[in-house]
């Protein structure tokens, strides 16, 4: 073993046991200006070129080896120190210590309207708005509900003082406005607030929300109405629920239908929620009555259309298990923050 090797071995041994504050001294001891390896270089002058070349490269290799060893040792030591430091810095991560950013909430009703509107928009519907103060013409007459018709019984109306205006009892007057203001084809929904003059209890409210839908064109059929509303309900519930179209009656549609879904709670056997029928009423719909087209001066021979209206509260209460409608308008933050 030559001298370079033994010096290198000696140096590497020292590195193995070195600490962070002594390790640079080892480098200086061997590689500094007067270092043991540097010293060897100084003796080279007496040697032949061949020898110089050979020993020179050996020395350089030894230098590199020592530098590498020092660097990796340094890294090893700093890593170890960092690990120790972090170990000492361990904090209590219990969630109670964390800051709670205040969380905002949308109201259940607007959230439900949004959810429903999104589905209709994806089916190609426009979204429009109506007015809440209406005239008798838009709310009743144009919708084929003449004065003193029993259909008005179910829609107790709030009238405004010193005017003939009223608060709309359904979103359907929007159908008339839209048809008056535009030409077919029409494909639109109108979410909005409606008013009924009745006492508020667990299942009734003087105010609630509906989404009105209207599609008018030259080839619109009941079969398409079934198609669109089935698709809507399936998307809303995220599954192919059983549903039925049941004959019903609305003055402004003919034929009319009520859409029921198989009770999700009892699977159709009958329970408290579906009042034993096995079905839950979801919405009313039908083909636009020719008298409605006549009221807006559309030709009922040329155009056909369908319309539907669905109750937002009913669906929201069902979805979120709310058993009292008043809860929706009490605005108790403890309730609002649940959704």
């Amino acid at each position: 073993m030559n001298r370079i090797d033994s010096i290198l071995k000696e140096a590497l041994d020292k590195v193995k046991t070195a600490e962070l504050d002594t390790i640079e001294n080892i480098r200086i001891e061997y590689l500094g200006k007067k270092g043991k390896i540097t010293e060897i270089l100084k003796t080279l002058s007496s040697l032949s070129i061949e020898e110089k070349k050979q020993i020179g490269s050996e020395i350089n290799a030894a230098k590199d080896a020592l530098n590498d060893a020092v660097e990796s040792k340094k890294k090893e030591i700093t890593n170890k120190l960092l690990e120790e430091k972090m170990k000492n810095e361990k904090i209590d991560v219990s969630s109670a210590f964390s800051f709670t950013f205040p969380k905002g909430h949308y109201h259940i009703i607007s959230r439900t309207i949004e959810e429903m509107s999104d589905i209709f928009v994806s089916l190609g519907f426009d979204v429009s708005q109506g007015r809440e103060i209406e005239t008798d013409w838009y709310n009743f007459e144009a919708l084929n509900i003449p004065k003193d018709h029993p259909a008005r019984d179910t829609q107790d109306t709030f009238y405004l003082e010193n005017s003939s205006n009223l608060l709309r009892t359904h979103t359907s007057p929007a159908q008339i406005h839209i048809m008056e203001e535009s030409k077919p084809p029409i494909k639109v929904i109108v979410p909005g607030r409606v008013y009924r003059n009745e006492a508020t209890d667990a299942t009734h409210s003087a105010i609630f929300h509906q989404i009105e839908g209207l599609v008018v064109g030259e080839k619109v059929t009941f079969a398409e109405l079934k198609g669109t509303l089935s698709l809507f309900i399936h998307r809303l519930f995220g599954q192919e629920l059983d549903l039925r179209f049941r004959p019903s009656h609305f003055q402004f549609t003919e034929p009319s239908a009520e859409v029921d879904i198989k009770c999700v709670l009892c699977g159709g056997k009958g329970c408290r929620v579906c009042k034993g029928s096995g079905w839950l009423e979801m919405l009313g719909c039908g083909m636009v009555h020719p008298n409605v087209f006549r009221a807006v001066k559309y030709d009922p021979e040329k155009y056909t259309g369908y319309a539907f209206g669905l109750g937002v509260e009913r669906f929201a209460m069902f979805k979120y298990g709310i058993d009292d409608m008043r809860v929706l308008y009490e605005n108790d933050l403890r309730v609002l923050r649940q959704f």
Partner: protein, 789 residues
């Protein structure tokens, strides 16, 4: 309306169970459910009460020994009417009664009972019953109850839609069943006889009465009805009174046409006059109440006095009683709208008015009259002495043309002509053809809902079954753009998601307000409700503040101190109806946290925090906050600002007056913005890409002293001018506002940090100093603001 299952089967032959029948009727549009009856039990047998003793430990109970012919049972019974010798229905151990009620061995007050003696109510045969059910004396023992009862009737409840008044009878419902099953309904044979014309009926107001048939029957004997009739009335919820009244009710339930019987002896002058009442005319009706009538109401009167309110309720004076021998029987057709108005004005709803409001048939009026005459002759004796029929010539059947291709155009699938004709015929509509593919339909007058072609199409769809209409995906020959009404929804979405992100909760309030609540908030209403049901619905809200303030009070009452809520809704003020956004905030900005406590940070919402919220949620920086020139009265006049968009005020915010929020410790801040005017003005601005400077910026902090008179807005304006002209001052922010005695009580100091940057080079000190100096000069020159020494 209550309908008897057995009665229906008398009229139309079907073998559907009550449940199947409900399903069939519901699928036709007549919502039907079983309310009582039918065999709903298991393990109930007939047995005889052999002996009855008082329960030793209970006064109201008895111990009965009951024998079924084979075996004896000891039964504890609570009914008052239980007697030895009776044959009764016995639910033995293991029997199941309606509602899945299983009979188990039980000890009642120390005595074991081996079953239960049942009442009709417990068996589900009746909705209510008094005491146990007692069976006939010759009932065999030990038999299953259902085998000896014969056919236990089932009572159905039907709910009709407003257009189907014709279904308010057994015949009407039977017609629906018959149409679906393609059968012909059978009514009892109704005999009629020819009568010579007489002249006792005078219809003065022919617009309100289109047919009036009067029958004078003499020598009737008032008495109880036969059991079968009383039972049928009772099962449909009508009390049996006497044979004559019961017959009119029976015919009503059977055929659906209201009849009225007067005591002839009370009719003076030998005349029946159908006329509008005189304003203020009075009548005491069957319910014992005296009503004052208006000239819009139709009366049945004699020569001198009113006898009945037409189609609504009879008069007390002219009613049938035990001593009546001669009657005058009315079967008439009145104007539905007029009857509805009268019934509503008088606040009376009767079986008659309910049907008249929905329209009655001039054909059925005649059938019903004869049916009642037949029944009276059969059950009460008496002779028909006089019959008069005043019928309007306008009473004709409706004729409608139906184009076969139109059915497919509406429904979206083809139904062949033969099927269509068949469906309509079984509905009682006569069909003929003259032209190919066009049917001529003659509609019976009881179907007053069928007025035009589309109504026939509904009938076809309904009877053929909605389930047979295909489910077709929209042809998509056209579609809306699926646009969310452009800016409106976009703005609302942006704003509410901004607020929710800041921890605000959305609320929804009623649109109504009480005047006293408005007064407290210095608000005036513009719309008053003419017919409110309670004070809460007096007026329409002129501001969202009313509701939000209620929410604030409610929630702070529940102990919630930090309240951040908003609402988007319509308000109704002098400008009309419009959509606005209201935001209310109060209390601590952040939830409590141990680190805040540690650092003593606990900011509470004030005007400036609110300003930050407003700035954060506004959809673009073109909205600015500036001086409020006409603040709402509910704001603290010194702490309110306007929200301005391109020079036009679109909202206000500020601290509520302390006298509004007396009971609260913290300031309450309210903002209201007019979404509609933002929507109509605001165009969604698309920002174009701007290069980001590569050269470093230079920061400088300066403090200046200003007179308090100068609003900071003015200073900001000067800074912005310098930013524009110099081009290297890019941004600034205010980091300190300071007052002290040393400065003087009328002075205030502001410190701000200025950011300088050049787009093409690194700035040197001299350049920055020069620009800063020009700012200081301008501040001094324009506003007298000096650098703080």
């Amino acid at each position: 309306m209550k309908i008897s299952y057995n009665w229906l089967r008398d009229i139309v032959d079907f073998d559907l169970s009550p449940q199947e029948l409900c399903h069939t009727l519901t699928s036709l549009g007549v919502e039907t459910s079983v309310i009582s009856g039918g065999v709903q039990w298991k393990g109930v047998i007939t047995a005889k009460v052999v002996d009855r003793q008082k329960h030793p430990n209970a006064d109201k109970l008895s111990i009965c020994r009951v024998n079924d012919g084979n075996k004896e049972y000891e039964i504890v019974c609570g009914a008052k009417n239980v007697e030895a010798g009776q044959i009764i229905p016995l639910a033995v151990l293991g029997a199941v009664l309606p509602g899945d009620f299983v009979i188990k061995p039980a000890k009642i007050r120390g005595v074991a009972s081996e079953g239960m003696i049942c009442s009709e109510q417990e068996l589900g045969l009746k909705a209510e019953s008094d005491g146990i059910m007692v069976l006939g004396e010759d009932t065999p023992l030990g038999k299953n109850l259902e085998d000896v009862l014969g056919e236990a009737d089932t009572i159905l409840e039907i709910e009709i839609t407003t257009n189907r008044g014709d279904c308010l009878s057994h015949w009407g419902v039977a017609r629906e069943i018959a149409a679906k099953l393609q059968k012909i309904p059978n009514l009892p044979i109704i005999k009629n006889v020819k009568f010579s014309e007489s002249n006792v009926i005078e219809i003065k107001d022919k617009d309100l009465c289109t047919r009036y048939i009067g029958c004078q029957i003499k020598g009737v004997k008032i008495g109880p009805s036969p059991k079968w009739m009383a039972d049928r009335l009772e099962s449909c919820g009508i009390k049996s009174i006497n044979n004559i009244v019961d017959i009119t009710n029976y015919v009503l339930l059977e055929l659906g046409h209201p009849l009225h019987a007067f005591d002839s002896s009370t009719i003076s002058g030998g005349k029946i006059i159908v006329r509008r009442a005189n304003q203020g005319e009075k009548i005491t009706t069957l319910d014992g109440k005296t009503h004052e009538l208006t000239s819009n109401m139709l009366l049945i009167a004699d020569a001198s006095k009113p006898l009945a309110v037409a189609g609504v309720i009879g008069g007390e004076f002219s009613s049938i009683n035990e001593t009546t021998t001669d009657i005058f029987l009315e079967s008439a057709v009145f104007n539905p709208g007029n009857i509805r108005k009268t019934a509503r004005t008088l606040n009376i709803s009767t079986d008659a008015s309910y049907r008249y409001e929905r329209g009655t048939s001039w054909e059925v009026a005649e059938m019903a009259s004869w049916r009642a005459v037949n029944l009276i002759a059969e059950l009460a004796g008496g002779r028909l002495e006089l019959r008069e029929d005043v019928n309007s010539p306008d009473n004709k059947k409706v004729i409608i043309q139906l184009r076969v291709e139109r059915v497919a155009k509406i429904l979206g699938y083809e139904i062949d002509e033969k099927t269509i004709a068949n469906i309509l015929r079984f509905l009682g509509i006569e069909i003929s053809t003259k032209v190919e593919k066009v049917l001529i339909a003659e509609v019976p007058s009881y179907r007053n809902d069928i007025k035009e072609e589309i109504d026939l199409i509904e009938e076809i769809a309904r009877v053929n079954g909605y389930e047979n209409i295909p489910v077709v995906k929209e042809s998509n020959s056209f579609a809306g753009a699926g646009k969310q009404n452009l800016s409106s929804n976009k703005i609302i979405k942006n704003i509410s998601s901004g607020l929710v992100g800041l921890g605000f909760c959305e609320v929804m309030n009623y649109s109504f307000a009480e005047i006293k609540d408005l007064d407290k908030l210095f608000l005036n209403y513009s719309y008053k409700i003419a017919n409110p049901i309670s004070k809460e619905n007096e007026v329409l809200r002129p501001s969202l503040l009313v509701g939000l303030m209620k929410n604030f009070n409610f929630n702070s009452g529940q102990g919630t101190n930090d309240i951040k809520i908003f609402e988007i809704g319509r308000i109704f003020d002098a400008k009309g109806e419009r959509k606005v956004l209201g935001i209310l905030m109060s209390g601590t900005v952040w939830q409590t946290w141990w680190k805040w406590e540690e650092n003593k940070i606990n900011p509470v919402f004030d005007f400036y925090f609110a300003g930050g919220v407003i700035n954060r949620i506004l959809p673009s920086n073109e909205f600015t906050i500036s001086e409020n020139r006409s603040p709402e009265k509910y704001y603290h006049p010194g702490k309110t600002a306007a929200i301005v968009y391109r020079g036009k005020p679109v909202g206000q915010f500020g601290v509520l007056r302390p006298d509004i929020t007396e009971n609260t410790q913290n300031e309450v801040i309210y903002a209201e913005m007019d979404i509609e005017s933002i929507e109509s003005e605001y165009k969604i601005k698309v920002n174009t890409y701007e290069h980001v400077a590569k050269f470093p910026s230079v920061k400088r902090d300066i403090s200046v002293v200003s007179s308090k008179e100068v609003k900071f807005d003015k200073i900001e304006k000067v800074i912005k001018q310098v930013m524009k002209t110099g081009g290297i001052l890019k941004d600034f922010n205010l980091f300190s506002v300071y007052e002290s005695e040393k400065l003087g009580s009328d002075k205030i100091s502001y410190s701000f940090r200025l950011f300088y940057r050049h787009n093409d080079k690194t700035l040197n000190d001299a350049e920055v100093n020069a620009d800063m100096q020009s700012l200081l000069n301008k501040l001094d020159g324009d506003l007298g603001i000096k650098l703080r020494s």
